[in-house]
Each structure stands twice: as C-alpha cells, then as structure tokens.
Amino acid sequence: MQYRNRSFRTGLAVLAAAVGLAWAFPAWSFAATTQGVAGKNVSLGAWAPESGPTTVLFATSEGAAAYFKWVNAHGGIHGYHFNFTMVNDQYNPALTPAAARRLVTVDKVFAIVAGTGTPSSVAVLSYITGVGIPSIAPASGDPSLTQPVRKNIYTVVPSYVNESAFQAQYAVTHLHSKSVAIIYQNDDIGKTGLAGVTKMLALHGMKPATAVPFEPGTLAFIPYVARLKASGAQTVIIWGSIPPFVPILKAAESIGYRPTWITYAFDADPSVVSQVPPAQLANTYFDSWMPLPDDQGMADYRQAIKQYYPQAKIGLLSVQGWCLASVFGSAFADMVARRATPSWSGLEHALNGMKHFSNAYVHDLTFSPTNHQGLPAEFVMKYEHGAIKKVTPYLPLPVVH
Amino acid sequence: MAAPPALTVSGLTVRFGGLTAVGSVSLDVPGGGRIGIIGPNGAGKSTLFHAITGRVRLTAGRIAVDGRDVTRWSMSRRAASGVVQTFQNIQLLPSLPVLENVMVGGHLRATYPAVLGFFGLPQVRRSERNLAAQARALMRRLELLPLERRRVSELPYAMQKRVEVARALMVMPRILFLDEPATGMNDYEKSFFLEVIRDMQREMGFALVVIEHDVSFLAQLVDYMVAMSFGQIIARGRPEDVIASPQVVESYMG
C-alpha cells in the first residue's frame, strides 16, 4: 500500500510540474487583428508533416521555408523580413488544431502560409475561420477549403476536381481519345480526382472506360493495370497525392499495354522518369501549374534549396511550397507597396485584387471577394529525345462543380 | 470406509502425445478421508492431480464429485464444486500482498455481482470486510498474520507454500489436494504444518489428498496411501503396508 501512495504522490508531482511548465508559455493575449508584425519583421507559420506517415509532403513545407529565407537574404519585401515557423502536426488531424493554436497564440504569426495536407487543413477550418487569421495557399486542393468562401482562406493549388477535369479535357480535346480510364488512389484525393474526370467526360457525353482504385503503398500493380488493359482504354489518367507512376508504367510494360498516360507533373522529375520504360514514357503527358525545377526561371529556387535545405532534393514538391509562398509574397508586396502597414484586412484586400495575376512562378491567378480559389493556369509537357518540352501554352483550368 | 466417496475417479488416463503419463487410474476418496500419494519423480502423481482438478485434459476416464460427473467441467467450475489444489511449483500472485493472495481464495464467496466491484457500494464493502476477516482468521491459524502486507514475492519458499494452502482453504474445499506441501520446510515447520492441517481438516471436514516425498511426514498425516509408478497405481492400503511393499521399494530403487 505504501507503494501505491508513493505513485499517487508521483502523479501529483508530475501534475504540478506540468502546470508549471504550461504556465511558462507566454500565451495571454487574444489574437489581435494585426499580430506577428514587429517593425519590419513579420512572423509567418505553417503546420508541416515533419514526422508521421506522410513525411514525403514535408518537402513542400521546406520549399515555402526556403522561399522566405531567400527573400530575407535578398533584402526582403519592401524591407520586410520574414520568420517562417513550421510546427509538426505529424499529418494527424487530431494534432493540427494544436499546431494551429500554437502558431496563432504562442508564436503569434501574422499569417499561415502553405499549411500542408488536406485532412490537416480541413481539421482546423473552423478554428482558422473563427480566429480570422489569413491562411494563404494551403498545400491542398480540397474543394471544401474555398466552398463556401471564407473571408481569410485563399487557395492556389488547383482544386483536385478542376485539375482532373483538365486532364480529362486534354485527353478528349487534344489527344482525341475515344476511351479514357482512371487509376486512382483509394482516398479522398483519388476520389475527388475521379469525380473531376467523370464530370468532364460527361460534358463530352462519355463515361470512364474503367476506374481502378488502389491502396497507397501497393506493391504489385499488374492486377490493376490488367484491368485497365481489359477496358481497352486509349488514355489512362493516374491520380493520387504522389502516385506510384513508375510501378504502374512498369507493370503496364510487362503485360504489353501501351495507352497514352496523363499524370501530374510530380512524376516528371528526371530521376523518376529515368526508370520508366522508354516506350511508355513516349506516350506520357504531364500537366502542371508550376514551372519545373530545372526551368531557367527557377534558378533562385535551386540555389535556395541547395543553400538552406541541402538534404532536400530539388523537386516539384518543394517547388510547390516555393510557388505557394510566392503568392503570399506577391500579395504582401502589393499591400505594403500602397504604404499600408501589414494587416489582415490589407492582405485580404490585396489578394481580392488579383485578377489574371501572374508572377515568376504562378500564372493567371484570379481572386475576388466571392471566389477564393485562384485556379492558376496549367500547361502540358512531354518528354522528347530525353528532354521535357512544353506541348501547350498555359491553358485556363475548366470550371466544374 | 463406510462413508460414500466424495470423489470417484475411474479409468483416468492422460496421454501427452505418445507418452502415457497416467494410465487408467481408479481411486475413491471418502468424505473427510486422508489419502497420501507417493512415487518416484515422473510417476504421474502431479498429472493425476491436474487431471482431477481440471488443469490437464484427460484422455479417458471419468471423475465424479459426490456422484456428479464433472469430467467435462472446467477447472474453475470444479473448484466451485469443491475440488481445490495447491501446486508443486507455487502459483501465487507475486505482486500482491499476502492478504490479497488469501482473499482471492474467497472469490466464490463474495456474494455481490462482479460488475458492482466497479462501484464501491455498501454491499460490496460489507462482503469484502467479511472476506478479509475470514482470510485473517485463516492466516492467524497458519501464522501468516504478521506478514499480511508483505508481497508474496518477498517471502521465503516455505512461507509461500503456506500462503497457497491458506488460499486453498479459503475456497472451503470439499476435497483438498496438496502437491508436495512440505518441500522446503524444516522440521519445525513440518511439525507445525502437520498439526495445523490436521486440525483444519477436522474442523472443516474436507477430504485430503497429499503428494509428498517425505514419506514419514506423509505417514503421520494420512490414514490411507497409494503408490504410483509409471502412471499406474502399484500399491494401495495402510501407509505402513504400502511403504513396505516390495513393488514400492523396487520402484524407488529402479
């Protein structure tokens, strides 16, 4: 019994220590309308999957962080320098509310930029909306973030519905495909993609030749590809967060199936592409709203990643973070150029003023008070003679609901 | 042997794979009787106990308690019918104090529905107080009372044996099986134990079946003895006769 008493006291001691520790956090105030701006220093932040099952997406957070470090090193934006804080939410929607509250009440950031992940972003929607802090360009294409429109949330990543609809449209109108199939990751991202493809095909009086779901992490793709082959589809759209592009194309090659493939530009990375059977690569189209990492215009990005995140690989995931952060950068520049001190309403005003806006990284972005979905323009690429080439100019994304 | 048997074992056989541990043993235990079992190591004595109490599944045979067939009953159900044993390798709850170990034996006599244990209702507390009082009474008889708050894992082996006996008595057995109770006891402890268990048996009226290697100790405790070898009963009768029988002497020699 003495032993039990002792552990009871242990409990109390730990409790007291916990209270003490927690109180040590300076976290008194309510979020003011302009917090996180001290002179010419601006605090920004984002939740990021630094650990957990989806660390792959952490590269996007690193890209955003690299952007701000690069901006700071080059004189800032109209003299403003940025301190970008990433808080690990492990890609767990139960922990994102903690991360968001920490950013808002402890780190007191001015805005959240490029918070990563769909489940995470949705989990804090009501909190972010309630606080009113700007959340700019989350790394998620979930339509629910901007429908309905929330005053302080703006998205840049094309909604997965529009994106997949764009791919289907390209298959039908440019490739003149008579039958289009989709292979998609069996989760919300994949299913949203399926919805976009289905809607676009319906506009052309078509239906998917087949729709094949797969689990993230699947090893053997031959069964899935065999079903695509059996459907006789001429064009196959590959959909997922980071779709297993190489295994799918290898599986297709091994069963002698060569349709035209359409996939997202994450897969156009040279190191990925080098593993694809050449005969399949010749039939593959990549779409993107971002420049490729090797583009001439991305020299700053490449230098910044090498300098600040040498462990990270140059690739489209970190390009994404860079581009998303650049939209914030442009809006911030626009706000302070009008001699306005940074404020939430000022930032929202600047964003709402973006009409067919382009900067060095993002094209044809349009926001308005009733539309917070930027829908940047996309282009299509293809590998020819070992080098990737644009096969279309920037094309507007189709609007489907 | 006029009294009706409390326990009837007939044709009890236990095989492990190809090995016959107990081969067709039959045995009657009269109510209130005292039976000793002797035999060399590996004779199947403990296996016989385990088959009777339900720890080991029997291959063939029949077991009846007061005429009721319990052959297919689980160990806990047999315990509820009064078939209780202590173990050669002690089976106690090492992390708990002595008192709790003994009180576990009163499980079936805690009268409240188990689920009420989550809520400290008066009825639960009353029942627990009664159990504790009964456990302490037993512990006093076995001179365990000063140790009531000690964890059993801290006790010497002979004391642990005693705690196990106290727990078994707490069940209020109809037939009590003691498997080598005197192991690890010195002469003083043995004579103390002998006295206590005799007294308790007289008071509580249970039948006693004891496995023991210390034959002279056993002879003082029981009035009927059975000798086993290679899973068979090779002799039975009055202790002095069994001990002296040539088969028994030979089985120990061989």
């Binding site: 032993y3 002792r6 957990g52 139960a94 009501s126 | 720890r55 159900r77 209780v84 576990v104 078994a168």
Partner: protein, 314 residues
Amino acid sequence: MSKRVAWLVVGAALIAVFPWGVGSYVDYVACLALTYSLITVSLNWVMGYAGQITLGQGGFFAVGAYVATCAVAHYGWALPAAIVLSAVATGVLGLLLGVPALRLQGHYLALTTLFFSLAVPEVIMALPSLTGGSNGINMPGTATLFGLHLSNLRAAFYVLVVLLVAIILVDRTMLKSKLGRAFMAIRDSETAAASVGIPIAVYKIMAFTASGVVAGLAGGLYAPIAGYLNPATFDLWLSIYFFAALIVGGLGNVYGAVIGGIIVIALPQLFSQVQNVSNILFGGILVVVLLALPGGIADWPRLGTGVRWLRRPR
C-alpha cells in the same frame, strides 16, 4: 488536516486554475492529453490488471468518436445520449474482442486486436454516406453536454478532468473488490485463478468490455472537442501509441497510465517546432525511460536500481 488531504487540495487548486493561465494552444493539448490518459487508463484494465496484451484501443477510440458524431449529425441525438451510445457500442465491441482472448495468448492476441484497430478506419472509409469517408465528418457546433459547449476548451478540460478522476476512483475501488483480484489473478497465474473457481473467460471478457466502455466514452467526448473527425487520425500508430503510453507510464498502475497518456501527447509538442529531429528525440526518450525504468515512470522510486542495473547489463 493530513498531509494527503493537503496534497489533494493543492492538486485540485492547480487543476482548477490551469486552463485560465494558459492559452488555447495548451488548453487543446491538455484536452487531448486527458483524452489519451482516459484511454490509457482503460487499456491498463485489460493489459495492466487482466494481463491481456491488446492493441485495440485505437479502434475503440475511433468507434466511440464516430458513433457519437454520427448520432448527433445524422440522427439528431442529444450529445449526452450520443456519448452513452458510444460507450455502449464500444462496450459491445470490447465484448466481441474479448472472445479471441479466450483462445489466444500474448502477442497473438496483440496482433488480433491490432488488426481490429486497422479494420476500423477501413470500415469508416467504406461508409462515406454515414461517416464522411476520407473527407471526414463535422460534429455539429450546436451539440452541448448539459449546456456546455465542449468546443470551449476550458469547459472540455473540466469535463475531462472530472471524468478522469471518476474513472480513477472506479479503478481504485475495483482493485479492492473481487473483480480486481480476479483480474490480477488471471494476469499472474491463470492456473491459480481457475483453482479458486474464478471463471477466467467471464472475467477476461469483462475486462475487455469495461475497457471498451471507457475508451468509447473518451472517444465520444473527443468528438465534440475536436469538432472534426478524419480517419487519418486513427491509423496504425494510434493504438501503438496508447500501448507505448501505458508501458512508459507504468503497466498496472493507474497513475502511470495517466502520466503515460499525457506524455505521449505533451512530449512531442515540445519538439513540434520543426527541427528535423522530433521523432529521434521522442523515440530516444521512450527507449531511455524504458531502459532506466522498466516498470515505467510510475516506478520512479526504483530509478536507482534501474540505473545501476543498466550500467552493468546481465
């Protein structure tokens, strides 16, 4: 006033003022930590007392949270009724999960229950019309617990503390009854338990059921606090975290379970500001604690022996 009462008063006062001194961030973390503590305490009933290794707690948590949310969002139930429904549902599931425990031992049982926890999010994904599937589901903000909005984290904090204290009292009471003794007898020696007439099957199932009820209550409370559920929360690692929480806190000790639940939530928060090493630090601390204190943090009085023994391994 005895020393113990003084301690209690100090503790109660600290808890009472706690949510007012910290911001909503710490309040949220505290609520999450208390929820985890509740579940770890329930896990302790099965693992610490009844000695059955289980990784099913994540599944219970998920079912509890989703049942409450669906009952409120789709069927218009009042929140208290919905939470009770959660507890009933997880209790039934616990009862079913207890059945394999009758036939399986040790790590077999652990893996069986792990597959239960893995299957739960699959089922959630497979029923999108009910659960929102992978899009997740919102608990209506109008739901209140006897007038309390649990999305108000301070209110939620007090509710959780009250529930946790109540469950600790139940735990203490149970240990002093034949129920607790039977659980521990089964843990220490099933042979001994059976030899005194304890029906092992009944008690194992009872442990799983009771544990399910408490984990379901915790899930039901978590739903309105978080306001949004997504199957991504209830992945493979969740159940393993509860397991780790109990081992680190102290198997078989209710205060250890509480501490463990708090630690697995609070400790990673200390490293949550990204430094690329949060997993290394968190994992490293787990390993070091277990090496120094195999009995968990609640075993700290024996830290000396642990360390000494660590210096000179077997």
